[in-house]
Symmetry: C2
Subunit: 423 residues, 2 copies
């Protein structure tokens, strides 16, 4: 008998019909002899609708109250799901984040889980019942206040509970069949990845793959929780995210696991920066103070004749306006000549644990882009990832070209069925 934590997202419980469908799946897992804990998100667009209500009241709602408001969404879905499962003859009980023992820090709106003490969940399992837990929410230890974990928080709740309960696997149900070598909407020949390491999944999630929240992968890696990403519409196996296999097993592991892309970043270029010690530091202190989360940085070699250089960096689109305003405020002080803002960029990332031991991956990537006529504007690398910035309107072509160049396309005759929208 296995202990399984299953997580269902908002699209899997969007209405009463979907709730009943998911309930059937859960009841089957229970009847198959497993102990089952279910983490559920708010139904469909509930969270956005509640946010909209808050905006109608005030443009800047107090975070503590916003968290109380938003957690109403999971309260609704978890109770309905418990009803639907009970209706199938399987006993089920629902629990808020607080009742499930999800303890967080007090940073409302993006709290971090600091501990999981799932006494009531264990009791429920011992009674042979299914435990339904509200995702996305926790409680502070000191003040007993309700917190939320931020977008993607339900994935993190599921992984944290799986770790706290010592579950055999954490199943993340979604509307796609698993993690793909590229977004199937862009690359129709993309294939489902059967297995990927935590490190690769971290790089994929950080590079724009939206199937798993980054923080949940970090959590899974830290506690060694195997995560199975799969479709709630089929019973086919999805993608297993787990530790790297032992060396002897790894012989056949592919060099590249996938190509991720991201359209949600912009590029700011600070033009004509005096090339003195400390100038770059001054610029990035201002950027950091504006709250921006910068990604890639490129500094040109300064022209000997002028002693001036240009510094470019990328950041999420949403951080653009505040950062531009902050930089404009220190133009005289730092002495740069102008600022450029470009939101028409795209980022392509090639991820694979194998590239550590295979030289030449970068050269092959740049060659593939050159052959496809695509210009590279910025480059950054980690041990298992290479990212390049291109024009946004050539990003799709770039993804397809790289996917083919690295032999990731589905071979002729292989059948791949996409269950959902392939996000």
């Amino acid at each position: 008998m296995a202990l399984v934590v299953q997580k269902y997202g908002g699209s899997s419980v969007a209405d009463a019909h979907s709730v009943k469908r998911v309930a059937k799946r859960i009841a089957e897992a229970k009847r198959a002899g497993n102990d089952v804990v279910v983490v559920v998100s708010a139904m469909g667009d509930t969270t956005d609708e509640l946010l909209d209500l808050a905006q109608q009241i005030t443009p800047l709602p107090p975070q503590r109250e916003l968290d109380i408001l938003l957690t109403a969404g999971e309260r609704i879905s978890m109770a309905l799901l418990a009803m639907a499962i009970t209706n199938l003859g399987v006993k089920a009980k629902s629990f808020t984040g607080q009742q499930a023992g999800v303890i967080t820090d007090a940073v409302h709106g993006r709290a971090r889980i600091v501990d999981v003490v799932p006494h009531r969940i264990r009791e429920t399992l011992e009674k042979g019942q299914v435990a339904i837990v509200a995702g996305f929410q926790g409680v502070t230890q000191q003040t007993n206040d309700v917190t939320t974990l931020g977008r993607g928080g339900s994935d993190t709740t599921a992984v944290a509970l799986a770790a706290g309960l010592g579950a055999d696997v954490c199943e993340i149900y979604t509307d796609v069949d698993g993690v793909f070598t590229a977004d199937p909407r862009i690359v129709p020949s993309a294939r489902k990845i059967d297995r990927v390491t935590y490190e690769e999944m971290l790089e994929l999630a950080a590079s724009g793959a939206k199937v798993l929240a980054l923080r949940s992968v970090e959590y899974a890696r830290r506690y060694g929780v195997p995560v199975h990403v799969r479709s709630s519409f089929s019973s086919a196996p999805g993608t297993l995210v787990a530790a790297a296999p032992q060396e002897e097993e790894a012989v056949e592991a592919p060099i590249i696991s996938g190509v991720a892309h991201d359209r949600s970043e912009s590029k700011i270029t600070v033009v004509g920066v005096p090339d003195h010690v400390g100038t770059a530091a001054g610029i990035f202190e201002v950027v950091a103070a504006s709250g921006a989360n910068i990604d890639m940085i490129v500094q040109n070699v300064s022209a000997a004749a002028t002693g001036l250089t240009d510094i470019s960096f990328t950041l999420p689109d949403g951080d653009g306006p505040a950062t531009m305003a902050a930089l404009a405020g220190v133009q005289a002080e730092i002495g740069f000549s102008s600022l450029q803002y470009d939101d028409q960029i795209g980022k392509l990332s090639l991820v694979g644990a194998g590239m550590k031991s295979h030289p030449g991956v970068s050269a092959q990537l740049f060659g593939a882009l050159r052959d496809a006529g695509i210009n590279i504007e910025m480059i950054s690398t980690s041990e298992i990832r290479i990212s390049v910035v291109t024009r946004e309107d050539s990003l799709d072509d770039a993804v397809r070209a790289v996917h083919t160049a690295f032999g990731l396309d589905v071979a002729d005759g292989e059948a791949v069925v996409y269950a959902g929208t392939g996000r």
Copy 2:
């Protein structure tokens, strides 16, 4: 400086605009120097919408899960109200029933408050902040499970908190100006009652007046909490529900406080019952076992020739079918000849503490109905109430005739403004 508990119903916080209007009123009470605790219901029809969702899942949802589902409604309204008050520059914090220390028994769906331990509410007041509390909900002491108090539960939450905090007054805000001598939709000349005793309010609430939930009045009487029923749309004083005034003040008190009516009952007649000892007991044991909440009972004098009698009783419409079925099942055993069911009845109740010391009130009531040509089918009385059953379609005429006969109509030239629907 007074400590005021204010309760706002669902119609007072039906949308963002209404929430802001109520927030302004609360901020004014706070700025006037009061300590303010606010109890709030779910917005508009939220509770009914959630019930409908549950019905889409299963016709018989588990009560524990239904309570978790329904309490999401107050979570939304309380957070929005706290945001709106904060936005006006007055600090406010919202609390669930659990956080506010509303402890109940474990009867899900209609739990009773067994204790109120409002530590966090007191702390909040001591910091000079407004405390917003979710109405209608509490938590069990043993299992830490969420419960609901049933329809009208927010009134009870407000009165219980006022008692627990030793508040100076509990203000129940509604969409009418207060308690009226009759329903103004039926009797346009009805007048607002300035003051009414707990006992009279109990009789009015039990006889069909819907402005205050019966259980909240019981609670207020037990703990001596003055309750002020008033309109959230005006600043005019409403109706004060409080203990009977001292004898010397009571000289001018009116004999009759009001005329209530109720269309929600049906009448069952058991025809041809053998007039033996214990037969009536047998019938009402069956009725009680069916879960019906019976109101009035009349047994005819048995005809000497046959030794048979008829027994009639009234009960809520909703209890009718189950009770008829239960009685039909024991027809042979008890030996009555037939059953009659009549849902076309109306009940009129005349309530007034003064009738204790004023004989002749019954005679005056029956005379007024006779003069209006209205037939009386059943009669029941308490110390301060007389109720009669009439045909449902003559109930309105009966209410108007009695209201006039007891001098309750507004005198010529008195201006009465109805704020709302006068329910």
